[in-house]
C-alpha cells in the first residue's frame, strides 16, 4: 500500500498548485537554502560538501596516471560517477549500481565534460605515455530531494578546488587543477501539474517528469535530460530555461566565493 501515499500526495500537490502554493511554503521557482564547504576531506585531492535542504552530498576528486588512448596521445580523461548507497535513504538498496545512480552520475558527468571546463590536453604529462585521469565521485549521504543539483554543485566545487598530486606520483610539483568555467545544473519537476524549481522529497514522490538543465558561464546549454514519466510542451521548456539562467548564476557566484576562501 506504499502507493496510496503518492496518490493522496498527488491530490494535495494539485490543490496547492491551484492556489499557487508549494507544500513547504516556497514559491514556484524558489530554491531551498544551500551550504557549500570545500577542501573538507583528508586523502581527497579535491572535496566539497553540499547541504541543500535535507540533502547532504559529498564529492571527492582523485587523480591517477594512465596511458593515453593511441588515437589521442596528449589527452587525459575525466570520469564522474555517483553512488546512491543505502546510507542515503530508506528506499535505496544495496547491490550493483541502480539505473538511478547511473543516470545521476552520467548527467553530472556530461554537464561538466561538455562545458569544456577541463581541457583534456592540459592533463598530458608525457605525450603518448602518461596522462592524468581525473575521477570525481559523488557520495550521497542524505537524500532530501533534488540530489541532481546538489551533486552537480558538489562535483564542480570539488573539481575547481582540486590540487593535482604530482609529487606523490613523482611527476613534478603539486599544482592547482586548471578549470575553465563553472557549469551549474538547475532541475525542475512537474508537481501539481506545473514545473517547480528544486523539488523537495514530497514533490518528487507525488510528481511527474523532471528536467535537468546544465548551463555554462556564458549561459549556453551543455546538458539536458528529461527523466521519469511525463511529457512537456516547448512553451513550458522556454519558461523554466529562463529560470535556470538566473539560478545557475547565483550558484556560480557561491562557488566563486568559496574558492576565494
Amino acid at each position: 500500500m506504499v502507493e496510496l501515499v503518492p496518490s493522496l500526495l498527488r491530490q494535495e500537490l494539485d490543490r496547492l498548485a491551484a492556489e499557487g502554493q508549494r507544500i513547504d511554503g516556497r514559491g514556484q521557482f524558489e530554491g531551498r537554502e544551500v551550504h557549500l564547504e570545500v577542501d573538507c576531506l583528508y586523502n581527497a585531492e579535491g572535496s566539497a560538501k553540499v547541504v541543500w535542504g535535507d540533502t547532504i552530498i559529498y564529492a571527492g576528486v582523485k587523480f591517477e596516471i594512465r596511458t593515453p588512448w593511441p588515437d589521442r596521445p596528449t589527452q587525459g580523461s575525466l570520469m564522474c560517477g555517483a553512488e546512491l548507497r543505502p546510507v542515503a535513504h530508506r528506499k535505496y538498496e544495496p547491490g550493483p549500481p541502480s539505473p538511478e545512480s547511473i543516470e545521476l552520475g552520467r548527467v553530472v558527468d556530461r554537464g561538466i565534460r561538455e562545458s569544456g571546463c577541463i581541457d583534456m590536453d592540459e592533463l598530458c604529462i608525457v605525450p603518448g605515455e602518461k596522462v592524468w585521469g581525473v575521477m570525481i565521485d559523488i557520495h550521497v549521504l542524505s537524500d532530501g530531494g533534488n540530489i541532481f543539483d546538489a551533486a552537480g554543485l558538489a562535483a564542480i566545487a570539488a573539481l575547481r578546488t582540486a590540487v593535482v598530486p604530482a609529487e606523490r606520483f613523482d611527476v613534478g610539483e603539486d599544482h592547482t587543477l586548471k578549470v575553465n568555467g563553472t557549469p551549474i545544473m538547475a532541475s525542475f519537476k512537474r508537481a501539481g501539474g506545473r514545473f517547480v524549481y528544486d523539488p523537495s522529497e514530497e514533490e518528487e514522490l507525488g510528481g511527474d517528469e523532471r528536467i535537468h538543465i546544465t548551463l555554462g558561464d556564458e549561459g549556453h546549454l551543455h546538458s539536458l535530460q528529461k527523466g521519469l514519466k511525463g511529457v512537456f510542451t516547448p512553451d513550458e521548456f522556454a519558461e523554466i530555461l529562463a529560470v535556470a539562467e538566473q539560478k545557475c548564476s547565483e550558484l556560480r557566484e557561491m562557488v566563486a566565493e568559496k574558492e576565494g576562501n
Partner: protein, 242 residues
Amino acid sequence: MGGYGDVKLLREDGKRLDGRAIDEMRPVTIEAGVLPAADGSAMVTHGLNVAVAAVYGPMEAHPRKIQRQDRAVIDVRYNMAPFSTGDRIRPGFNRRSREISKVTAESLESVVLVERYPRSKIRVEIEILAAEAGTRCAGITAASVALADAGIPMRDMIVGVASGKIEDTVVLDLDKAEDNYGQADLPVGILPNTGEIAFLQMDGDLSIDEYNLAMEYNHKAAKEIHEIMVDALKRRYEGGEA
C-alpha cells in the same frame, strides 16, 4: 561530443560531407511485424543504423515488488549487439545502455495507456544491430511501431529524431562523423500529434537560439518519420499476420 579535431564537416557548397542539406534527414525505412516469436515487432533502418524492437505482453509482472497496483510497468532493454560498432562491444553490463533503457522506458510510459493494465508488465526489447550515430532515436521509433504492432493502446506514438551542431552550424540528423567531431547533439522523442516532448537529452554546446533552431528541425523531421511509421503499420495490417 568529441569536437577535438580540425575535421571539416561542411563542404564549400554548404552541403554536408554525404551531400545532404543542412536540414536534410538520412533515409529511413521501417517494417513492422518482423519477428515471429514476438507479440509485436519492428525494424528501423535510419541511415546505416539498424534497430529492431520486440514487444512482449502485457504479461504478469514479477517479481511482485515491481508490480504497480494502478498501471503496467514498461521494462525496456536497449542493447547494442557486439558487432554493431567499430570496436566490438563486450556483452553485459554497460552504463550507457542502462541509462538509455531507463529514459526510453519512461518516455514510452508517457504515451502507453498503462492504466489499462494494472499489475502487469510490458517488455520492450531494443536491439541495435548496426550503429551509425542516432541509435537511441532509431530505437525509440522502432519501439513505438512495435508497441502499435502488438496492439498496445497509446495516446500517441513517439518519433525519435536528433539535430546537432557542426562547425557552428545547426544541422538535422548527425551522421557518424558529425557525431564524432561535432559540437552538440540534441536527441528528442516527439509526439507527432501534439508536438509534445517525451524524450529529451542533449550534450555539447548550444546557445538558446541554436537550441530553438535545432528543435524546429526536429519537429519537421518527426512529421516525415511519422508518415513512414504509419505506412509500415498500414502495410502490416494489409499483409495480415507475419
